[in-house]
Amino acid sequence: MANSSEKNILSNLGDSYEYGFSDPDRSSFKSRKGLDEEVVRQISAIKQEPQWMLDFRLKAYHHFIQRPMPGWGPDLSGLNLDEIYFYVRPEEIDQKSWEDVPESIKNTFERLGIPEAEQKYLAGVGAQYDSEMVYHNINEHLEKQGVVFLSIENGLKQYPDLFREYFSTVVPIQDNKFAALNSAVWSGGSFVYVPKGIKVDLPLQAYFRLNIASIGQFERTLIIADEGSQVHYVEGCTAPTYTTESYHSGVIEIVVKKDARVRYSTIQNWSTNVYNLVTQRASVFENGTMEWVDANLGSKVTMKYPSCFLRGEGAHGEMLSVAFAGPGQIQDAGSKMVHFASNTSSKITSKSISRGNGQSSYRGLVKVARGLENVRSNVVCDALLLDPESRTDTWPTIDSGSLDVNIGHEASVSKVGEEQLFYLTSRGLSEEEATTMIVSGFIEPLVKELPMEYAVEMNKLIQLQMVGSVG
């Protein structure tokens, strides 16, 4: 770690959140605060949607109203939905050329390093500012091969049949209260289609930014990986630091067809006043593989349990996650692996770090339907506690209705080893540097699965989280 650039980063770190800046509110349209049927109709009308989508939104809205708040999990009483703007449209939306993105928004993403990243590492980039995608671009050669990477709105417009065939088939309205809310007011997100046999070798990236205060962002992403195809999608999230709570509630649906392989990576770094309640699910068919790589570093409260429904024989689901809960943060994360077919396998590796009064939890489910053969699942959770105030919970559930299964779960909780600390400090590192190094080592298995640009970002974020952790 002791290279000079990282030392610079460490020495330049303030106690503040690096992405906490905000731009003046230049939105072209804002729905009024709160939610009713009229707001839902308004969103649909602005987007000039077909009737079936308006009907879908209204149905979802009514389900959302009826459905009680979850009776489990973190305290959500600070989330006042009447004070939230459910739809905020920036000045100009969905440009294909970076030059056409309005100056103020461009500045934001340039400060976040997006265009640079695109040139170097990525096959395509989408950027969402408040409620709408402001930019979408994809490498020409992929476009020629038929790879589709559009904002979800343009996906609906340009590929209405494909869209309708898969939309809401992975996460139905009735799945949970927040998925119902997203279904009613969704805006922005990506639509990805990878044709049969096409392997997208560089990651597609989406960047999510909340700019104004008291906003709700409800992006909806639909990824369809056709037979034998391969794609890696990466999302990153930031928001300015305001005193009022904001709310992010995305729904991500992924269809992994026969022999296809999808990886979905998230670096969630919302400011610590954002409620982040996300539903992410993949339907995985015969011999398909779905991998979730999930890092939760920001937000006030995160509730997020990416899941794989393994529907075809030979399907494989994998989850690799790291959560870091600093002071005042609740990271209630986990994963669900549901085995509906024989010869399926799944693996969950969860690592969490708690500091201050931060609370990180693993909440998971491995479920095996009746009468299946040769089902394998392995779950490993490790929690690291950095000081006496931090807390961690582990709540896995195993529900098996088949004979021919092999399911294992193990979890352990530990603190930073005194011997490790002693060894490192005796080599001249400060206690904080030593602890940071141990934490970096603890999350190494996840970091090395990320594209280089993100691995650097991830290490930087961990160092940020660690500032002030000692003494």
Partner: protein, 428 residues
Amino acid sequence: MAITEKSPYQMFAQPSLPQSWEADFRDNLANWPIELHSQLEKARQMAYSLGLPDRKDESWRWMDYKRLDFESLKVDSKTSTLHLTVSYFNGNADEQPISSSLPDGVVITTLAEFFDHHHDLAVRLLRDNNLVNEGTFAALPSALANNGLMVYIPQDVKLEGMIQCLLEVPLANRAVFARSLVYLEEGASLNLELVWTSPDSDTGGFYDGILDVRLAEQSSLHLDERQQFARADWNIGHATASLAEGSKLEWNYAAVGSGISKNFIKAELKGMGSSAVLNGAMFPTAGQVINLDTRQNHWAESTFSNLMYKSVVSESGRSVWHGMIYVDPEAQKTDAYQTNKNLILDDLADVKSVPGLEIRANDVKCSHGATVGKIDPEELYYLQSRGISQNEAEKLIVEGFFNQVVQPFYLEKTKRELLDLLMSRMNS
């Protein structure tokens, strides 16, 4: 929260507790010393204000008591409905109990006898009820019990050998509520086995009991418990052990009987340096549901707990285990472990395993593990290649799997009986 008439989450035949039990409660007061009446009244209020749990309640998931009709069951408030036989074994290998009398001050008796012969002690020991807040089915016996097992070991009395208490409860067509207490004073030690049984019947009945185990400073208890109610019976139990400084508990539990049973087993490590080792064996077979809910609560520094629960599920049996380790901020230097292993023998078998950790201190060593699997084909192949029939080989593997949680039982006779009982299920 009480559930409504049409709740889809309703778990019992009726939406609420029978009103007739209010009258049974009033009858039951006559069985209790007047000093404790207000405590019983509080428990009654608690039960009725909580109402019946429903399936939204996390710890009652996967349970169904729709065929349990409380209204059709009789509550015997006026007569005792529990028969206690106490045997004293000299050592763990003895086939026959010895006849020597117990040391002075040791009390092993029923609740009714306890009130008659040890009134002051009864009032002192039963003045606090650690379990009344644990839920409706802990509050009910706190209000309605007219019997139970009372064990009291005075200060520094160390009993060698094993005391076995056979508790027969005539459950057919009855709802029986029992309150039991095992109390060890400072420095006392005891090996105790409780065997809960009921006569076979077609109609069955309902047993709801609480067991309050209290270990004072430096005391030590080896507790073996076997739930062997008849298969037609329903059973819900709450058992809690409170451990004071330096006390030690080894608690082995075998869930064998009942059609549908749900037992809460809790170790409260309240005193510094206390330790609890918990083993459990479950073997649900056709149509049987065995649900065990374990908690290891660490409240004090340098406490230790280790839990190992194993389940073999045959035919359409269902095994449910919820486990939780809680470590309080005060409980630094805690070591706590929890393991649940499940062996599936049949396509129709159903296993739910829900381990949990809630850790609020950082200087701790905690881990848990859970596995679900079938008999390893390689182990089977190995044994068969040695000339052992498949059936015999499977039995050997299951026996080996169970031995880890059966061997910690104290009496050789009990170990054999348990293994025989469990293995007999493999023949059917």
